[in-house]
């Protein structure tokens, strides 16, 4: 390879070197965390693949009984759940996102490294919980969307759905933490000069995906909490005989479920937007429109969930609205497809395996997109609902679109991650087997669907004429299985005997190619100054728009200066490893396990472990409250402390969480059967509680003001007052709940009582957490460890406290003062 511009390489150990198993268990390095995600996802990909193969074997012939109907239900449920939550998202966000975000934006790590590790261990805990059904109670079996009221205890009495509910709750929490972390990192930790319009498109996609995660996961969390309460505590959130409606679950699930498609698709688009320009040796065509398209797709994706529910009878107005938004989303998606094609057009193409997968993705995803537009039309969708046509559609989107992009990303970034190359020959074989197997498996499903074959069907009759295409699909699935076997062989071969990869094997355009393969632990010895889009390309060739191909081929490319002598790393501060993320996850896992199997001692042990570990993590490092981040990133490149952005992101997500709870209360208020109803609510007591909470907010800001000016005496007084008022509020709530109970309103009395107690109870839990948080800070204040230099710690707690206050302002109005207004 002639005249390869030399990246700045420093003879330092890579992130993979050093330490034993303990170093991996305690790692908070974003690259090692990414590798952990990668390894676990590759294992669960085998699980998901075997489940798919069993489904296809079962459908090989009519009236087949290769596996039982019950096992078949478990297989399609676990296949969907595994592929979405344990494979695709961990690979896109956990592996590629984690590894590439800091490297592409020129940072040394993510904003919250320990939170990052916690996300991984929680995700792994969730994965294990989801598979514990192998040991006891059976695997989840109600579909990956777990429609109510099939999931109620009455219809699913064993533990299978319990594993699913708890597993997804833990998994969802892990994903939200990742979303907060990624958003904060991208917003605040970009290298100097990297404006938003200079970010790599993969970073754009992850930034918007993170926002989408914060908006989409809370409705799922609320839906799962209702289901958990129904199954464990006797409520009736989805029991129609109690006046409730199972349709509520569908709304909450698809409010998550459709954005989830884009949570998976947008990073895939981002990967393709990296591979195609690099292998075309051209800048990405229409960069601004590509960025805006991501934003528009994400925004629209939040308003299209109803197209999954046309068959439920939402009415013509709602159907029309959801149809329009669903069709509109094709416009920004089309912009992306045409921009990719225009990028390839006229380029100096390098036909690598990654590029093959990228081109394959553009084609296969477009097919899935076109059938998606059909689903946007309510009358057509009604014919296709629950048929194999839908299975064909979403596999063209999620396999043809997302998995192709993931595989392309593997071949593209593998040398950077491992420092080893993969075999291009095996890669091409993998690609062609995948293309053949994929289309043979899923294209015939369009026809089977139109012929009436229902999805999730265990078997079919011989007289229906579906046998031929089903056999073709099963053969295709086996070819796909062989394709993945080749892929795994390629991985193992690369790890065992692959050639050492250079730092910049593809003549890349983004910053990750400017560091060694694999990168050192600190990523960049000196944070790069960004002069334009395609930062690394412009450093190499002068300007992002310049193709540089002529210079590259002729050997006249500019050589970057090598550092002279050892590089001074004394200014580089990397956070120390921590065992707490692993222990917290263990505690959470024990809590879930104890709940499901009914051993409450296990719940207690798990809760104690988790809470003590959280407190331990807060005080883990000497100098509590002091800025622990790299000074070059403190407060941040955006001028705002990373922790402030983090807490605001969390509060934004909490808005959606409480909106889901409040809307359920409003809906169920008027559907509630029998007494008591809203008339039981007491305005005088609650008005007093409201006054107390508002005054606690005043004391909170006064405490912060005192801390900021170094007035330690008043800091303690105002902070103590805040805690005291918080306790009074909680006492009022305990009194109110006890009073209601004595008046005959128990938790499960009717829809009103359960939705009231759940909403107000969750708010009370937030207040209790706030009181605990502020109490810890109060103790720190008395120990003389708060003070002016650590005012931010108090400000963050204050923001949480004020948020609890504003949520109560809304609850006080909508729940208490509007008690005479009928609900929905």
């Amino acid at each position: 390879m002639a005249a390869q511009p030399k990246p700045i390489t420093i003879p330092q150990p890579s992130y993979l070197e050093g330490g034993g198993i303990l170093s991996w268990l305690t790692t908070i390095d974003h690259k090692r965390v990414a590798v952990l995600y990668l390894a676990s996802a590759l294992i669960f990909l085998v699980f998901g693949g075997i489940e798919a193969m069993l489904i296809r074997i079962q459908l090989w012939s009519p009236d087949n009984h290769f596996i039982t109907a019950a096992t078949y239900n478990e297989m399609f449920t676990m296949h969907g759940t595994t592929m979405v939550f344990l494979v695709v998202m961990p690979l896109l966000l956990g592996a590629f996102g984690n590894f590439m975000i800091p490297l592409q934006i020129g940072a040394r790590d993510v904003a919250f490294p320990r939170l990052n590790a916690l996300s991984f261990w929680m995700a792994l805990t969730a994965a294990i919980i989801l598979h514990l059904g192998w040991i006891r109670g059976g695997l989840p079996n109600a579909g990956w969307f777990g429609y109510a009221n099939l999931t109620e205890r009455y219809y699913s009495p064993d533990l299978a759905v319990d594993w699913w509910v708890v597993g997804l709750l833990v998994s969802g929490t892990s994903t939200v933490l990742t979303g907060i972390n990624f958003l904060t990192t991208i917003v605040t930790m970009r290298a100097p000069g990297m404006s938003y319009m200079r970010m790599p498109m993969f970073i754009w996609s992850l930034m918007i995906t993170s926002i989408l995660i914060l908006l989409a996961f809370p409705p799922l969390t609320v839906g799962l909490i209702f289901l958990l309460l129904d199954r464990f505590f006797g409520t009736h959130f989805y029991v129609s005989t109690a006046g409730a409606t199972p349709i509520l679950w569908q709304h909450l699930f698809w409010l998550f479920g459709h954005p989830e498609v884009y949570i998976m698709a947008l990073p895939a688009f981002g990967i393709i937007s990296e591979i195609i320009p690099t292998n075309s040796r051209k800048p990405l065509f229409g960069y601004p429109m590509m960025a805006y398209s991501i934003v528009l797709i994400a925004f629209l994706s939040y308003g299209v969930w109803g197209h999954h529910m046309f068959a439920t009878g939402m009415g013509p107005v709602a159907d029309s609205a959801f149809a329009i938004t669903s069709m509109l989303i094709a416009i920004p998606t089309g912009i992306k497809v045409f921009s990719w094609i225009a990028t390839v057009w006229g380029g100096s193409l390098r036909m690598t395996t990654a590029f093959f997968f990228a081109l394959g993705m553009v084609l296969e995803f477009t097919i899935g997109g076109l059938s998606g537009i059909m689903h946007a039309s309510a009358p057509i969708d009604l014919q296709q609902t629950d048929s194999y046509f839908v299975v064909a559609h979403f596999h063209y989107v999620l396999f043809g679109g997302v998995m192709f992009a993931i595989l392309g990303g593997f071949y593209y970034w593998w040398p950077k991650i491992t420092g080893r190359t993969m075999s291009d020959g095996l890669g091409k074989l993998h690609f062609w087997l995948t293309v053949i197997g994929f289309n043979m498996t899923f294209f015939p499903m369009h026809f089977l669907g139109m012929w009436g074959m229902p999805r999730r069907t265990y078997t079919y009759g011989a007289d229906l004429g579906w046998e031929g295409l089903n056999r073709l699909e099963t053969v295709g699935a086996f070819i796909l299985g062989i394709a993945f076997l080749v892929f795994y062989i390629n991985i193992i071969r690369s790890l065992m005997s692959g050639e050492k990869a250079p730092a910049d094997p593809w003549d890349g355009r983004t910053l990750e190619w400017s560091v060694a393969s694999p990168p050192p632990a600190y990523n960049f010895a000196t944070l790069p100054a960004i002069r334009g889009r395609d930062a690394w390309w412009s450093l190499k060739y002068g300007r992002a728009g310049s193709r540089g191909v002529a210079a590259y081929v002729s050997g006249q490319a500019p050589q970057l200066p090598e550092p002279e002598g050892p590089v001074d790393l004394s200014h580089v501060h990397m956070p120390a490893p921590s065992i707490f993320p692993l222990v917290i996850s263990l505690g959470i896992g024990l809590m879930g396990l104890g709940l499901i199997v009914g051993y409450y001692r296990i719940i207690f042990i798990g809760a104690a472990t988790a809470i003590l570990s959280i407190i331990g993590m807060a005080f883990e490092y000497p100098g509590f409250g002091r800025e622990t981040h790299d000074p070059e990133h403190a407060p941040s490149s955006g001028g705002i402390d990373v922790r402030k952005v983090g807490i605001w992101s969390f509060l934004g997500s909490e808005c959606v969480f409480f909106a889901s709870l409040i809307s359920t209360f409003i809906v169920y208020k008027s559907r509630s059967i029998g007494h008591p109803g809203p008339e039981i609510l007491e305005i005088p007591l609650t008005s007093f509680s409201t006054f107390i909470l508002l005054m606690s907010s005043l004391l909170m800001v006064l405490a912060l003001a005192a801390t900021q000016r170094g007035d330690r005496r008043w800091e303690k007084i105002w902070l103590g007052g805040t805690v005291f008022f918080g306790l009074i509020f909680l006492g009022g709530q305990v009194y109110e709940f006890t009073h209601f109970y004595n008046e005959g309103m128990g938790y499960t009395t009717n829809l009103f009582s359960q939705s009231f107690f759940t909403l107000v109870g969750f708010h009370g839990a937030h207040v209790a957490i706030g009181v605990l948080w502020l109490s810890v800070l109060l103790v720190a204040a008395f120990m003389g460890k708060l003070g002016k230099s650590r005012a931010l710690s108090l400000e963050l707690a204050g923001l949480y406290w004020h948020f609890v206050d504003v949520v109560w302002i809304v609850i006080f109005t909508l729940v208490y003062l509007m008690q005479t207004v009928s609900g929905a």
Binding site: G652, I673, I683, A705, Q708, L817, V821, G823
Partner: protein
């Protein structure tokens, strides 16, 4: 302690100085007054026809006051406001959409069966 002294702390770029105790007390007075008005509106039967819009305006004003002054969105950079306000808008739209969708169901379909 000087109750009116503005807090002169160092803030990163993009953030203005936070207000002092006087501003916080004035905001608290407004919050109490608005709460009193809310409760009054609830008890005055003559206002029942406009109960919902009145209460929404009053609680909205309280929400804005706390967010702007106590949570410092008025003083911090636009970025923090955006990170909070966009999800807040989306959450409000979600709430409205769900309520309207179920209101339609309630008025057009009889799917509730007594226990």
């Amino acid at each position: 302690m000087s109750a009116t002294a503005e807090v002169m702390t160092e803030h990163p770029a993009g953030e203005l100085h936070h207000p002092g105790a006087a501003t916080y007390l004035i905001v608290a007075a407004f919050l109490v007054a608005l709460t009193v008005m809310e409760v009054t509106v609830f008890y005055v039967h003559a206002l029942r026809p406009v109960l919902v819009p009145l209460l929404l305006v009053l609680s909205g004003a309280k929400f804005v006051l706390v967010a702007m002054f106590y949570m410092h969105l008025k003083y911090d950079g636009w970025l923090l406001s955006g990170i909070f306000i966009f999800p807040l808008i989306m959450a409000t739209l979600l709430l409205l959409a769900l309520v309207l969708l179920f209101a339609y169901l309630s008025h057009h379909l009889l799917i509730t069966t007594p226990l």
